[in-house]
């Protein structure tokens, strides 16, 4: 290697590099650069304290995110936006000379196609997910569990499978964790299933869907950051998901039988019947249409739009929701044409001034991603600062010198780095966006194709987001569980599961990480660019 000069992607012509800007590599001959070649090169930013200081905005954000989400258990995306904004302002004070270049780089980062693609896909996916939730999809699954007559021992395994199906449909693991903790968890506890195992099964199902669903925010980020089509990514990760899910389901059967539940006075059957409705299962069709179209290579916006059309038709035709539930203009009575047009099914006249607005599944679903959209723009802006300032290159150089020295080590590095950042940042989508460029560069160096890179990235993101007590998935489930004593007389506070206890029982999460460690070592599922190129990412 001593005779080789490494010149990284889009590097400046190396003759133009100042000696002081050379790599920190131990090899004096090794030269590196990142950030645009010749004509495409954007302006570089110099920082007091060296190029490592360009990581200040991201580092500040990570510290903020750990404090907010891990130490204080505040799972609030808006709070992370504040952290990233302050980080970007703090970083500016370390810039040498004119701050204009730094400011312009923020815009440059925000206009990256990666961010826009993810945001568009999220908003479409959010609408679809909300239509399924409001259309009683979970009620249909409860009906299925009830008619199957499942007992206490098998209930956690069945919960895992149904939560996996539900999350694969709606894409949001947090949403299905809340739905299942609210509806399935009390029924399972009443039946005699162990509460800790039940919670673990719900989180495992959420991980499965978060990882596999084409409408999942993390699936979308993994695909777009690795420049791959979402349908192809979903199809290619099926093998890893199954390799972890089958042993996980078996483990829930075994553990469900071995761990006893708690004696409580209540009628599980009554609870299940009260919340079950087979009609909601129609959304297996909505989900199926979307999956088939996405995997057959249709543009993701087209695939989700068809899913939305089928879900809306099903909700209206089967009476699962009204037109106003889907979209409703809530107008004040004194509006000029409110009273005369009050017969319209999407117009409501409201007395309360605070109720004035537009509501319904469509707006609720889309708006659920607004905060995350702003956050991703800011994170990508901070990543761009890191690239233009040289810290990204320094981290890459170090990784290539010390960790990713061959393809197997490169894959293990990708698994480890994605796992680490997701273990420490509670909101897994934010962590995934931050680590995406790093995974891309390491994988591209060894010509791993986009599917493989996206799969390595998303498995760790999905799994680690639902295991630890500070993980977002665990926190939303725990928060929903704390509402149960107020909802059911028989639900004692002692039945609320301590987030620490559930850690070893999130079987699918642990197994998914293990599958990828083994896949990196053995080469299972590995694909190179010469084997297959991923399809064009569905950009708009």
């Amino acid at each position: 290697m001593t005779d080789v000069k490494f010149i990284w992607a889009d590097s400046e012509p190396y003759s133009e590099w100042d000696e002081s800007e050379m790599s920190e590599s131990t090899d004096p001959e090794v030269m590196t650069g990142f950030g645009g070649d010749g004509e495409e090169e954007g302006p570089r930013i110099e920082f007091y304290g060296g190029r490592g200081m360009s990581a200040v905005p991201i580092a500040f954000f990570i510290v903020w995110a750990i404090a907010q989400t891990a130490l204080w258990r505040i799972s609030d995306t808006a709070g992370l936006i504040a952290g990233m904004l302050i980080g970007l302002i703090v970083g500016m004070f370390f810039v040498k000379g004119n701050w204009k270049t730094y400011a312009n780089t923020i815009f440059e980062g925000m206009t990256q196609p990666v961010a826009v693609t993810a945001i568009v896909a999220w908003i479409w996916a959010g609408m679809f997910a909300q239509l399924l939730q409001d259309g009683g999809f979970v009620d249909g699954l409860i009906w299925l569990a009830n008619v199957a007559g499942v007992g206490a021992a098998l209930f956690p395994a069945v919960t895992f499978v149904l939560a996996a199906v539900f999350t694969t449909g709606i894409g949001t693991g947090y949403g299905s964790t809340v739905a299942f903790v609210t509806l399935f968890f009390p029924a399972g506890v009443l039946l005699g299933a162990n509460p800790v195992v039940m919670f673990g099964a719900i989180l495992s199902g959420a991980i499965f869907g978060d990882n596999l669903a084409p409408v999942s925010d993390t699936t979308i980020v993994s695909a777009v950051t690795q420049d791959s089509d979402i349908g192809g990514v979903v199809a290619s990760r099926f093998k890893y998901a199954l390799a972890a899910a089958i042993p996980a389901a078996i483990a829930y059967v075994l553990v469900g039988g071995a761990f006893s539940g708690v004696d409580v006075a209540g009628d599980a059957q009554q609870l299940l019947v009260a919340q079950s409705d087979p009609v909601g299962l129609v959304h297996l069709l909505s989900m199926g249409v979307l999956l088939v179209l996405a995997i057959s290579g249709r543009h993701i916006v087209e695939a989700i739009s068809w899913g939305i059309v089928v879900a809306v038709a099903a909700n209206l035709l089967l009476g699962l929701s009204s037109v106003a539930d889907i979209v409703s203009f809530n107008a004040p009575a004194d509006a000029p044409l409110a009273e005369p047009l009050a017969f319209l099914p999407f117009l409501r006249i409201v007395e309360d001034p605070e109720a004035v607005g537009v509501s319904g599944s469509i707006i609720d679903g889309a708006s659920g991603f607004f905060a995350l959209s702003i956050l991703v723009l800011l994170i990508i802006a901070a990543a761009q600062i890191m690239i233009r300032g040289g810290a990204f290159q320094a981290i890459l150089d170090w990784s290539l010198e010390n960790l990713a020295t061959n393809v197997r080590n490169a894959e293990l590095t990708m698994v480890g780095s994605a796992a680490l950042i997701n273990a420490i940042i509670t909101i897994n989508t934010a962590a995934e966006v931050a680590i995406g460029p790093y995974i891309s560069k390491i994988g591209e160096r060894f010509n791993l194709n986009g599917y493989r890179r996206a799969n390595i990235l998303d498995a760790q993101t999905a799994a680690l987001g639902y295991i630890f007590p500070w993980s977002g998935g665990v926190l939303v489930g725990y928060t929903a569980m704390q509402e149960l004593p107020a909802q059911y007389e028989w639900f004692d506070q002692s039945l609320v599961v301590n987030p620490v206890e559930v850690v070893p029982f999130v079987f699918h999460g642990w197994l998914l990480v293990a599958v990828f460690v083994l896949a990196a070592i053995t080469g299972f599922g590995r694909e190179y660019l010469i084997d297959r190129e991923s399809g064009e990412v569905a950009r708009v």
Binding site: K5, S11, Q112, K239, Y528
Partner: protein
């Protein structure tokens, strides 16, 4: 590729040293430039492919390469640059 076959693609163990087929054209990302060989190097796993008619400006780009020769014992290949076909997924 049929819908079903997309699901069942890649259910296998892939070597760290893939074989390159002389006479075939492949698309690869170029990882490094070696001035002494006057060639860029693509790492396909741990197989090294030296690509002639390239310069430092091609590093990081996805290029089409006509494979000319492959030495399986050393996992080293040689090929000619054909054209640039793409960029890194995160060009920065």
């Amino acid at each position: 590729m049929s819908l079903l076959s997309k699901y069942f693609r890649g259910w296998s163990f892939r070597t760290t040293h893939p074989v390159l087929e002389p006479g075939k054209e492949v698309n690869v990302f170029l990882a490094e430039y070696d001035p002494s060989e006057e060639a860029a190097i693509a790492l396909v796993g741990d197989t090294r492919l030296y690509v002639s008619n390239t310069g430092p400006e091609h590093v990081g780009k996805r290029v089409r390469v006509a494979v000319r020769e492959f030495q399986p014992d050393d996992s080293i290949g040689y090929g000619e640059f054909v054209e640039v076909v793409g960029e890194s997924s995160y060009a920065g």
